[in-house]
């Protein structure tokens, strides 16, 4: 379905995740973050860059993977994106929600 944000029309799924990454830009990211009551700082963008990099390489994302990468502190990650950091940060980054298989 369509969503109008940051003066753009983007395609999102029922959970609010972008279905077309090419529609993402920093303004869209900032606006999505605002909807989640998050004000983006350099630290936030560093995480977003990392996640987008992994997505481009088609690498799966998990808390374990992020911990092992040593790129940033997990507790810091939780402070930056409170309430389910992986699902929130990926939404802001315009990439799909990591699948947790059952």
């Amino acid at each position: 379905m369509e969503k109008i944000i940051a003066n753009k029309t983007i395609e999102i799924n029922e959970e609010g995740y972008l279905t077309d990454f090419s529609q993402w830009d920093k303004e869209v990211g900032t606006a999505l973050a605002e909807e989640k009551n998050i004000e983006m700082t350099d630290m936030h963008w560093m995480v977003i860059d990392y996640l987008q990099g992994k997505h481009k390489n088609e690498e799966a994302l998990s808390i374990r993977g992020i911990k092992k990468s040593g790129k940033f502190n997990i507790k810091e990650f939780y402070k930056l994106f409170p309430g389910g950091p992986l699902k929130i940060s990926t939404l802001i980054a315009g990439i799909p929600k990591p699948k947790s298989c059952i």
């Binding site: 997990i74 939780y78 309430g83 298989c101 059952i102």
Partner: protein, 410 residues
């Protein structure tokens, strides 16, 4: 003489040796199966052991009994797999293979979480994913006088992903039957967003948790167990206190996979999800919990994989292209307490939905709804496991790929 070597004689390995012994010409092929343990456990029974619903003898048998005489059964530790040489190094010998089947499974690793396997492990922190753990928990529950019981999942993936929910449901029944349910506060703690990953099943299971007065804490990624103060703490500093913690620790693939350099960061072997061939080596196939397939780690999945893998190995031997047949089919009973159970049937692309199984309209089993018939099905399953499943005998009317028949809006 060509060699088929199977590593692991658990559910998957035993099924494969029984399938392949009938397919391969014994003049041409020698089949060898290796395991370090002589006991074969019926792991679904570990759920019932803590509640005195099964006895210890119900869940274990001598593994050798289920291996065909014409196969060579080796009771030895596996050191490592050497794919460049098509060899496996065991403790006391080397085995050469033309085809290797990895069936080394998954096990719990409580030491991966800070504070879990310390002074209070098996004192007020228990697992029920091992025989010893389930037995110790049984003894603890027999004397439990009341307090906070926390049922917890450390991280995904775990084998038998519904088992922790079943444990919570059975605990509710157990304490009601003992006339002490009001003395126990049961909380279900999961890293998932809900009781399951898919909406219809999550709604059904959440409803049951609510009905039984079981609290839910979701999105909980445990950082550590504060075992001195009896609480689990997540990375966001949320705390859940407990008097008795029943946890499913991190599940990892066997260390032999790590030693062989064949696994991902959880020691699971990267495997083609539709053909079951390993991604790194064309003559190595993977079945069951040892793979990295985005499917449940469950016996039912391994059973469906076995039928498809057998066909693909035969195609490989005959230089035919492999068929991308496996669809991630899983079929799971979920015990809900008081003599009832749910049944879910799903695959890679279809979430569990309501309906009947295996026959549309008739059933006799109800999908995504509680029934006593489903519970009987779960109990009957133990007989089916020992007498049909691990012997490689096809279960009638249940196909390896998921059927859409009988499902509502499937």
């Amino acid at each position: 003489m060509k060699n088929l070597v199977i590593l692991g004689a658990g559910t998957s390995g035993t099924m494969m040796v029984n399938h392949m012994i009938h397919k391969l010409d014994k003049e041409e092929w020698k089949i060898t199966i290796v395991d370090q343990y002589k006991t074969h456990y019926y792991q679904p029974g570990f759920l019932f052991l803590p509640f005195d619903l099964y006895k210890t003898k119900d869940v274990k048998k001598k593994g050798k009994k289920y291996i065909p005489k014409k196969a060579r059964y080796v009771l030895q530790k596996i050191d490592k797999i050497i794919p460049e040489k098509n060899q496996v190094k065991l403790e006391h010998e080397y085995l050469n293979y033309d085809i290797l089947i990895i069936a080394t499974g998954t096990k719990i690793a409580p030491e991966e979480t800070e504070g879990m396997k310390e002074a209070n492990w098996q004192k007020n922190i228990f697992d029920f994913y091992t025989y010893e753990g389930a037995k110790s928990l049984r003894d603890k529950l027999r004397e439990f006088k009341g307090g906070k019981l926390v049922v917890h999942i450390t991280e995904m993936p775990i084998k038998c992903p519904v088992a922790p929910l079943e444990f919570a449901f059975l605990a509710d029944s157990y304490f009601i039957n003992k006339g002490m349910r009001d003395k126990v506060e049961i909380t279900y703690v999961t890293p998932l967003e809900g009781a399951f990953t898919k909406p219809k099943a999550t709604a059904a299971l959440h409803h049951l948790l609510e009905e039984k007065g079981i609290k839910e804490v979701t999105d909980f990624d445990i950082e550590r167990v504060d075992y001195k103060n009896n609480k689990i703490i997540d990375y966001g500093d949320r705390e859940v206190p407990y008097d008795l913690l029943v946890t499913v620790p991190t599940n990892l693939g066997d260390e032999v996979i790590e030693r062989s350099g064949l696994g991902d960061d959880m020691n699971f072997v990267p495997t083609n999800k539709a053909t079951l061939q390993s991604k790194a080596n064309e003559n190595i196939f993977v079945i069951g919990d040892a793979s990295n397939l985005p499917a449940s780690k469950a016996g039912s999945v391994a059973h469906f994989e076995a039928e498809i893998l057998t066909d693909n190995i035969m195609r490989y031997i005959n230089n035919e292209p492999l068929k991308e047949e496996f669809d991630g089919h899983a079929n799971c009973f979920i015990e809900t307490g008081h003599g009832k159970a749910l049944l879910i049937d799903f695959n890679y692309t279809h979430e569990p939905v309501a309906g009947t199984f295996p026959f549309p309209g008739i059933g006799p089993l109800k999908l995504l709804g509680e029934s006593r018939m489903n519970h009987m099905g779960k109990l009957a399953f133990r007989w089916i496991y020992w007498n049909m499943l691990i012997k490689g005998i096809h279960i009638p009317f249940v196909s390896a790929t998921m059927s859409k028949k009988g499902k509502k809006n499937g």
